[in-house]
Structures are given as structure tokens and as C-alpha cells.
Symmetry: C2
Subunit: 322 residues, 2 copies
């Protein structure tokens, strides 16, 4: 079960000068308002629209792998809201959050992809700010083995309350709460609250190296790793081309990145790693194998443009994982 901001991505290839001209924060997710979104969209070259949103990408990946997945997130009853709804259902994900019928339009993230395959995200949250505790379907959550929440939800104020509600329902049902830290700037905005969450509420933590270092204000990866090991039941830590590290109690795995093809767009790498990892976990695979499945899914999504894989994840995993 994924809960997150429901976003349609606009992906466009730009050069580094474009980032400099618009003072875009390379590699990060920056929140923008409606005016800025319009100005940026006007300046972007012709791009590709595709459904996105971090947790939404993750559950779409789980469904593609053959898992059973659901999503809670807020779109409006506008064209992009229809696109989002169509795509996530077409991926095989249960999605029944009521669409909002007034207020801001469906969220959009303008993703500038540079020649080095880095993605720089500029997100107008729009309808996402309408997610409230009333949208948290307790039955859906109680049915899921894992409820997966994105740190980005800490940005829209009411979503934070929905997030807390979801954790409460999940733990009451005896199931696991997973969190992705989402973005190092997001960690910067909400560091104290995230530290408390990780220590007291989260069973499975997903973070990349920059996010983990930001969380613990650590000078290097290993220092942060030693901190997180004692705080959370399972930590799955991604490190781009260096692969990932999975820690759980005394158990620790150092997993290679999987190369599926040339890297063209890193959008969705972390999201799809989480898909593979949690799919493995719900299939009863050992933690090392969960990490390897995550690597294959991440390797597939960065070999294409956009955060929803077009290749068959199921076949890739069947071929590459014993």
C-alpha cells in the first residue's frame, strides 16, 4: 500500500545552462508555486508527460512484478487527474481515493533531465494538498503487508495528519510501516520529525546516501550507516552506481547496482528499488535477495525515460535473480 503525492511528470531534456538560468537545484526536488510552474513550463522544451509521484511509482512497480498493490493520493477531476488515474490502474494498482472536485489542479512535476542523466524536479503540489485523514482507507491498509509512505507527504500540512493516521492503522493491524526519506532537502525541512519517525514508528526505512547523511548530519556514509543500524528494523540504503546497503540487526548486505542498459534518466531509481525490495520481502525472500531485486528494478527504470518501467520487470527479475 503506497501513500504519496499523486503527480503527473513532465520530462524534458535540457542542458546545464538551463538549470543555471532558472536557478534549479540539480538532483533535488524543489517545491514551486503555480506562477513559477507556469513560467518554467513555458520555458521548457517539448517533453513527455507520464504519471509519476514517488510512492505511486513504487506501487506501480510492485504490481508490475506480480505483487498486489494499492495507492492513496489526491488528484483533481481534471485531465491530468484522469491521466494519473488511468495509468496507475492500468499498471494493476488499486486506486480509489476520491478525486477533489474543486480547488487546485492535479499536481505536476517538471523534471529537467540533463545529459548526465541526472533529474532535477520542480513540483507544483496542486491537488495533493487536499489529502486528509479522511482519505485513509483503514481496510485497504489493514489488508496490506506493508504500508509505504513518502517523506514528501510531510510538505502538504494535512497530508502529514493523513500520514500519521495511516501509520496508526497499519501498526494496529500488526503490519509494517515503510518510509522513504524522498529527498535530502525534504529531510532538511523536516529533520527533527523524521528522526523521531525513524526511531519510533518506521519498520523499514528507504533512503539514498545524501538523505541518510542529511538525516544524521554525518560526514560520510559509514558514519550514518552505523547510526541508522540501531534505530530501525530494516534499512535499505541506495548509493547510485555504488549499489545499495541493506542492514537489519547484525545482518548487513552490500549489493551491487545492476546494469540493464545505458543510463539515460535516473528519475524513479529509488522508487523502483523500493518496489523490488518490498516485493521480495512480501514473497518471503531473504534480505540480500530483496536488495538484488531492487537493484534490477532500479537498473531497468534508469535505462529509459520516465519513472514507470516499460520493460517487463517480472521477466528481468526472473532472468537475473535466482
Amino acid at each position: 500500500m503506497g501513500i504519496g503525492n499523486a503527480i503527473v511528470d513532465v520530462l524534458a531534456q535540457v542542458d546545464d545552462d538551463f538549470l543555471a538560468r532558472f536557478e534549479l537545484n540539480k538532483g533535488a526536488m524543489t517545491l514551486i508555486d503555480a506562477d513559477r510552474a507556469e513560467a518554467l513550463y513555458a520555458a521548457l522544451p517539448s517533453g513527455l508527460e507520464c504519471s509519476g509521484g514517488s510512492a505511486a511509482n513504487t506501487v506501480a512497480g510492485v504490481a508490475m512484478l506480480g505483487g498486489t498493490a494499492g495507492f492513496i493520493g489526491k488528484v483533481r477531476d481534471d485531465q491530468l487527474g484522469q491521466v494519473f488515474t488511468h495509468d496507475i490502474r492500468a499498471a494493476g494498482v488499486e486506486f480509489d481515493t476520491p478525486l477533489s472536485t474543486d480547488g487546485a489542479p492535479t499536481a505536476r512535476s517538471m523534471i529537467a533531465v540533463t545529459p548526465d542523466a541526472q533529474r532535477t524536479m520542480n513540483t507544483y503540489l496542486g491537488a495533493c494538498v487536499g489529502l486528509t485523514p479522511a482519505d485513509i482507507d483503514a481496510n485497504l491498509i489493514a489488508r496490506a503487508d506493508i504500508t509505504y509512505l513518502e517523506g514528501y507527504l510531510w510538505d502538504p500540512p494535512q497530508a502529514k495528519a493523513a500520514f500519521r493516521q495511516a501509520m496508526h492503522v497499519c501498526h494496529k493491524a500488526g503490519k509494517m510501516v515503510a518510509l522513504t526519506l524522498s529527498d535530502s532537502f525534504c529531510v532538511g525541512r523536516w529533520r527533527e520529525e523524521f528522526l523521531d519517525l525513524v526511531e519510533n514508528q518506521v519498520d523499514i526505512l528507504f533512503a539514498n546516501e545524501a538523505e541518510l547523511k542529511a538525516l544524521y548530519q554525518a560526514p560520510d556514509f559509514d558514519t550514518a550507516l552505523q547510526r541508522v543500524r540501531s534505530k530501525v528494523q530494516i534499512a535499505a540504503l541506495t548509493r547510485s552506481e555504488k549499489g545499495s546497503v541493506v542492514a537489519s540487526g547484525d545482518e548487513l548486505h552490500v549489493i551491487d547496482a545492476a546494469r540493464i542498459g545505458p543510463v539515460v534518466d535516473t528519475t524513479g531509481a529509488g522508487d523502483l528499488y523500493a518496489s523490488g525490495f518490498m516485493y521480495g520481502l512480501t514473497q518471503g525472500r531473504d534480505l540480500g535477495t530483496c536488495g538484488r531485486i531492487g537493484s534490477v528494478c532500479a537498473g531497468a527504470v534508469i535505462a529509459q525515460v520516465g519513472a514507470r518501467p516499460t520493460a517487463s520487470l517480472r521477466e528481468l527479475v526472473a532472468t537475473r535473480i535466482k
Copy 2:
């Protein structure tokens, strides 16, 4: 205390065609006979001579860091033997193994460095085959906190007996035995014996990823890591640009590579990592810090040509390690 083959390196820059023409095994250490050594030397472009030998490089690094280090290894009383002796003593290492006065000349390794900074070694063992148990100075070994042995010693038959003798003396004195696997082809030649050594005799194991995978015939790094964790007290595992992993019981550190400058010649990277690691250990540093000191020393030696650092390791470590 280091025990190893005492070798003078001849380093020359070549292109990949040169490797192909002479059927050289890129990245590996290949043993060659006197005739092949002569033919190869005749074909090599003008190069640089400098003292080498894996364990010798390591103890030279320890001394440069401010540690107390000794070396046992066999050279002849010829010009290169004088060069080797001069250089290791000039580095501050105690070296008193009797020179051989007849038989094969001092060992030479012709190291072909390709534009990708990879080194391909072709070693004529020469006088090294004259190392015998009689050369193992029990007093020297008993004084040392760690006796460090190179897997390459398994190649000259009598050296193997000297190696076993050294382990016996070291453990009897209550000190630690460290082993480097040296080279994945060397592991291939002596795999069964190395497995036994690692499980039953070695306290600290140094290996790079290829060597470790060869030892456990593992498909990936993590599988090999899980195997070695239960077999040896401390494993320090190097992974080139991916840094290193240090495992000891439940403790596990994932250490970044240190970038000191552009990478020009990877000769000595593993040797100098071991210098830093063991120096840290004898100074009572925690294992994560030992790994970080190792990274700095390795980063320094790959930013120059040759396996004995010219930069001050002591200053580099003082600046970069808290």
C-alpha cells in the same frame, strides 16, 4: 612485520595493443620465467624502476605513517638487490634478511600501465624462491603486533614453508596474523589451501573483490561477504572506486574511496590500503577509522606512478582523518 616477495618493479606506459600482442592478462599478476622476462623487457618502452613487492610496499607505507615496521624477503647480492635494500631501509623499515650469494638474480616485475591506469604485472621471481624457514627471524615476528603475509608467497615452494613457520611463531607469541590474497589468479592456483588458512590461521584478511569472489566462487560481492564474515576475525575488503567494506563479527563498515588526485596508476592500491588499515589498528583506532586511513593511503598511491607513495602519508592522514 611484512613477509613477501622482494621485487623491483619496472613500470612502463603501454597501450592495450601491447597487452594483446604479448597476451598479457590485464589487471593480473602473471609469473614468468627468465626467458620470457628478457623478451618482455626488450619490448617494453623506457620505464621507471622502483622497489616494489606487495608486502614490502605495505610495510614501507606503515613506516611512512609513523609506525614501526620490519620486512623479511629474499634478494640477491646484485645491483637490484642493493636498490631494494636501500629503498626499504630508506623508508624506515627494518630489513635484515641475508642476501643470497648465488643462484637467480633479484626478482623483477614488469608492470605495464595502460591509459585507464590499470596495471598488469609480469613477475620473474628470481631470488625470491630462495626464501626458506631459516630466514624467519622469530624475534622480529614476536615483537610485531601483526605479521602480514602475502598470498604470492604460496608460489615459491620453500617460501610456503617459511610462511607457515612465521604464522606459528606469531601465534605462539600471542600476536595477529594478517594475510592478503594478493591476486585472483593466485587464489585460483591455491584456493583449497587459502580457504583452510583463512578459516584456521588468519586473524585479519585483506582481499579485493575479485580475489574474494574467486576464494568463495561466489557470483557477487555480497554472497562472498556473507561467507567470509563468519570465517575470520577481521576482513578488510577493497572494491576499487566503490571503496571498501570492513567486517568483524556483527560490526560492518562501508567505507568510501578517498580521492587525493586524478588516478594515474593503480599499482599498490591494495598494498597501501593495508598499510593504513594496520597502522590504524596498532594505534588503537576503531575499525571504521582504520578503513578510512586505508582509503587515504590507497588514494595517495594511485594518484602517482609506482607503489611507494612520494606524498607524505602522515600529513594526508592527519588532514583527512579525525
